[in-house]
């Protein structure tokens, strides 16, 4: 049976850069047609990349690009394992040039690299369409980035044109898997069931070790071996779109029905309508079966006609976030931490909403308005870290919080230690829908 293997070596920008080595070893050992994908974009990543490109016109792509590719590029090219990724971020062409330079540094012939264009809709020519697209209300906000989630078709066309590496920006995560499958099996762009199946396979792969046991681990209840040497996922996908999820032999981690179900439902809303640029995927009747150790089959996925619109994420400058932390321990630690927070609150009363956490007592479950913290009684003793955070449009005002937390060193309450503060610019996001025809997508082979 004709099987296509696709391995995923990154689930976000900042993932382990040695992940690809084991995946490529396994793809080489298996033989047969194979792809390697890297998924490196999240809601904020593109805006950060756009800011990086403002500082350096040649930058703006995945900062770890070279670290990710250097260990595997030679073997991929030698064994005809083609690479598809959205690590181009805000500058796919810049990433493509860097990859070519890396190949030359490694003494390899220049690979055929395709660049996908069209996802960036931040230019003035798109501004009127973005303003008109509900539910955007951009007012006078300073737009940092605006990118449409684009699909697999351009990836497939680029591969058919002979690309060994395909570099895009805001390629939708599952499209990194759908594109290679479309090209390999010759699927039509309206073969909804097949595209739906490949989309959910891509969804399983796109977060890297989230499907292969890493993010599943919960010792004593959900034990996972080899957390320090996790195997990243590999799929074996068939012409009908059904697929097996596995990982490199001998690697750490776990692939079983439970790890796969958790990732299958990750970031899903209506399970019968998972919207992507390629298809509306439907897992309402999906099933997973354990075939053997670390081998799970996904079946029963359907697909429906793709949406007529593309989702656009718009990032804009939204001010400054200041944070400060200080620790209290021992008898009445909780009460002293609460007094510290109340002191800051009174001194910053004019600066807007202040979030308070008592780390070790009540923090991440809590809400910004402090309803949960207020309902949580103070413990007689403990080891807690008081954290305060606020956002302000004015840098100086936000910065005042840092100084107020620092002043607790001498002003008390008693026994406060380990102050750390930070200040950073923040980015807000809005999303809207644009008609497809306003977002023409094309690929270009790097000359």
């Amino acid at each position: 049976m004709d099987v296509l293997r696709i391995g995923c070596a990154a689930g976000f920008s900042g993932d382990r850069t040695d992940a690809a080595i084991g995946v490529v070893d396994a793809l080489v050992a298996a033989g047969g047609p194979a792809f390697l994908i890297f998924e490196t974009l999240a809601e904020r990543t593109l805006a950060l990349a756009q800011l990086a490109r403002r500082k350096d016109p040649d930058g703006g792509y995945e900062p770890l690009l070279v670290d990710m590719l250097r260990p595997v590029l030679a073997r991929c090219l030698r064994h005809d394992i083609r690479i598809v990724s959205n690590f181009g971020a805000a500058n796919p062409e810049g990433a493509a040039r860097r990859i070519r330079a890396l190949a030359l540094e490694l003494g390899l012939p220049a690979p055929v690299i395709a660049v996908i264009h069209g996802d960036d809709v931040s230019g003035l020519e798109h501004r009127a369409a973005l303003e008109a697209a509900p539910p955007t209300s951009l007012d006078a906000r300073t737009i940092v980035s605006a990118n449409a989630y684009i699909g697999a078709e351009a990836v497939a066309r680029a591969l058919e044109a002979g690309a060994q590496v395909v570099v895009g920006g805001r390629l939708a995560d599952p499209s990194l898997t759908v594109g290679p499958a479309m090209a390999h099996f010759g699927w039509r762009a309206d073969d909804w069931d097949r595209l739906g199946r490949a989309t959910m396979v891509g969804h399983l792969l796109e977060c890297g070790a989230q499907v292969s046991g890493g993010y599943y681990a919960d010792p004593g209840l959900k034990d996972v071996p080899g957390m320090a040497r996790l195997g990243y996922p590999i799929t074996e996908i068939a012409d009908d779109g059904t697929a097996i999820i596995t990982k490199p032999a001998g690697s750490g981690g776990r692939v079983d029905a439970h790890t796969v179900k958790e990732q299958l439902l990750y970031e899903i809303h209506d399970p019968t309508a998972y919207l992507t640029p390629d298809v509306v995927a439907d897992i309402g009747d999906a099933e997973v079966d354990e075939l053997a150790a670390d081998r799970v089959r996904l079946t029963g996925v359907r697909g429906h006609r793709r949406p007529d619109t593309l989702k656009v994420n718009i990032c804009f400058e939204s001010g400054w976030q200041a944070e400060g932390e200080i620790s209290y321990a021992g008898a009445r630690a909780d009460a002293r931490a609460r007094l510290a927070a109340e002191t800051i609150r009174q001194r910053m009363a004019d600066a807007g909403r202040l979030r308070v956490d008592l780390i070790g007592s009540c923090s991440v479950f809590g809400d910004d308005d402090g309803h949960l913290l207020a309902a949580t009684g103070a413990r007689a003793s403990g080891d807690v870290r008081m954290r305060v955070a606020l956002r302000h449009s004015d840098r100086e005002e936000a910065q005042r919080l840092e100084r107020e937390v620092l002043a607790l060193y001498c002003c008390g309450p008693a026994g406060g230690g380990g102050v750390r503060t930070s200040l950073r610019p923040t980015l807000g996001t809005r999303s809207c829908l644009l008609p497809r025809e306003l977002v023409p997508i094309r690929f270009e082979l790097l000359d």
């Binding site: 439902l265 399970p271 099933e287 029963g300 479950f365 809400d367 956002r391």
Partner: protein, 128 residues
């Protein structure tokens, strides 16, 4: 039929995900026999009560009988979402563990099949 109360994590596991100001949390039965208990007791009202302090505007539950799973979608529960929330965990990655502590009543005949060591059950656990 005698029952006992145990935290949800002894019957199911799950994961939370975020898109904008919306969180989804899966609840996946450890085995098919637990699924009807989840359908019966882990409903939209129970989840709305559990997350009420975060002022969500809606909870929708989707059933996936072939996966023996539920999927909850909780609207406006993330203080604006990853870029707007002041929470350290602005994604709400930890929220699945809030839901997995929900007390669930289990027939005592099913108790030997519960996951996790019996000694590790929470103080919420009672028999009646």
């Amino acid at each position: 039929m005698p029952t006992r109360s145990v935290p949800l994590w002894r019957l199911a596991h799950g994961r939370s995900g975020d898109k904008g100001n919306r969180s989804n949390i899966s609840v996946i039965a450890w085995e098919p026999a637990f699924f009807p208990l989840l359908v019966e007791q882990v409903d939209e009202a129970a989840v709305l009560r559990l997350f009420a302090f975060r002022r969500p505007t809606a909870v929708t539950r989707y059933l996936l009988p072939k996966l023996h799973a539920l999927n909850f979608v909780i609207d406006n529960v993330l203080d604006g979402g990853v870029n707007d929330s002041l929470n350290l965990d602005s994604h709400g990655k930890s929220l699945s563990f809030l839901l997995l502590d929900l007390p669930v009543r289990v027939p005592t005949e099913l108790a030997p099949r519960l996951r996790g060591p019996d000694a590790s059950t929470t103080s919420k656990e009672t028999t009646r």
